[in-house]
């Protein structure tokens, strides 16, 4: 091939870019294989990386360990939203400086308590607890059966991490049939894990602690002292003062409001 022919062939194979200064180099035959190897390498890396991440997550979350599995529970978002940002200290919900204190005596299994928690509690929280007018103390009672005590112990143990109200509210929102065995380890685990900032393992470890036993005994004593014989029971009064038994005419915020307002006015 003459020199002129080689030059013409080069021009055809490697078209010049604008200006004629740079040209696109043709892909050598060996590069197809090297690109294939590159793609295979990327694919391998993707498979390995994804498998390691998913596997580590499953193992890390206890997916294959003896820790209880979780079950589907409802109202997680609504509960967390309702209670977010409100101070909790043990059995207490609301500002310690609130002028009014209400004690709620409740069994985690009682349908009436569930009705109160659904119908009145959210509005009471929004209108009185969040603005710092009322603080509520949860006095857990266990008299309906084995599920009551199991749930109560878990709720009180969550109080050790100042998350009692989140757990109690979620258990009510997911309440089962009385004494049907609905308070399972799986349910408690699911509730515990759904509460922001709560160490579910620690809660489970503390369900039989002396602090939990003391809380249960104190609540039972006060329940008797007030002469209450059913749940939910309420006692309302000025913070630091004497509380009076309160029997609401209905489970709605309107039934509680006049009593709250009376003590708020007295505190001014």
């Amino acid at each position: 091939m003459s020199k002129g022919a080689r030059v013409r062939q080069q021009r055809v194979q490697a078209p010049q870019k604008r200006g004629g200064r740079r040209i696109k180099t043709p892909q050598p035959p060996g590069q197809t294989g090297s690109r294939r190897n590159l793609y295979l390498g990327v694919l391998g890396a993707v498979v390995v990386l994804a498998a390691v991440l998913v596997g580590a997550s499953v193992l890390s979350s206890g997916g294959s360990s003896s820790s209880p599995k979780t079950v589907s529970i409802s109202s997680v978002g609504a509960t967390n939203k309702l209670l977010a940002g409100i101070p909790q200290n043990g059995i207490e919900l609301g500002s310690p400086n609130a002028p009014v204190t209400m004690q709620e005596f409740a069994d985690i299994q009682c349908p009436g308590c569930d009705q109160y928690m659904r119908s009145a509690f959210p509005d009471i929280v929004r209108k009185y607890v969040r603005p710092g007018k009322v603080r509520i103390e949860w006095k857990g009672i266990s008299f309906l059966g084995p599920d009551s005590e199991k749930g109560l112990r878990y709720v009180n143990a969550a109080g050790e991490q100042n998350k009692l109200w989140n757990v109690a509210e979620l258990l009510y929102r997911n309440q089962g049939t009385e004494n049907s065995g609905w308070v399972t380890n799986e349910l408690l685990r699911s509730v515990g894990e759904a509460v922001p900032g709560l160490d579910a393992d620690k809660v489970q470890a503390n369900v039989n602690s002396s602090a939990v036993n003391r809380k249960m005994a104190d609540a039972a004593n006060e329940f008797t002292t007030f002469g209450l014989n059913s749940t939910p029971g309420f006692a309302i009064g000025p913070t630091g003062g004497t509380l009076q038994v309160f029997n609401p005419s209905a489970y709605s915020v309107d039934a509680f409001a006049p009593t709250f307002e009376k003590y708020v006015k007295q505190s001014r």
């Binding site: 991440l53 998913v54 997550s57 900032g197």
Partner: protein
């Protein structure tokens, strides 16, 4: 779409993803409340699936987005390959976490879903960038002597 456009899009999306992961990580370490329309962000953030061997998933996300961002700045074949590997494996893990939110935690985190959407687009862009022909290599044109007149 030119390689330059692809790289710009990859960098912008990776920066957005890093911002989300950084926000989740910051709130996790400071214990602050998350802005959350879905109501389940904190539930997901505090679940046992939010950490792998003690390392927050948000931190892994931040590292992955940073890596993808850096590969978007580079023009080498290796950078394209690493970017695609990070984005696609990240997307696979993100899909697993969507399953976890739906079936295990029963709560949805809007920030996680936004991050998943970004990862999905990033996976497409980085794979497109990887599959394209390499950019023309800049070499000097062979000096061609003008044919001599006889």
């Amino acid at each position: 779409m030119s390689d330059r456009t692809l790289r710009v899009a990859i960098c912008v999306l990776a920066a957005a993803g890093a911002a989300i992961a950084g926000y989740l990580l910051y709130e996790r370490w400071t214990g602050g409340p998350l802005v959350c329309a879905t109501g389940g962000c904190e539930t997901v953030q505090n679940s046992r699936y939010s950490k792998i061997a003690g390392v927050p998933v948000a931190l892994l996300g931040l590292l992955a987005y940073t890596g993808i961002f850096v590969t978007g700045l580079l023009r080498t074949e290796l950078a394209r390959a690493i970017g695609a590997a990070l984005a696609v494996s990240g997307l696979a893990f993100a899909l697993y976490l969507v399953y976890v939110q739906n079936s295990k935690i029963h709560a949805w985190c809007q920030w996680c879903l936004a991050s998943d959407a970004i990862l999905a687009v990033l996976a497409v862009l980085t794979v497109v960038r990887l599959l394209r022909e390499p950019e023309p290599v800049a070499v000097a044109a062979p000096a061609v002597a003008a044919p001599r007149r006889r």
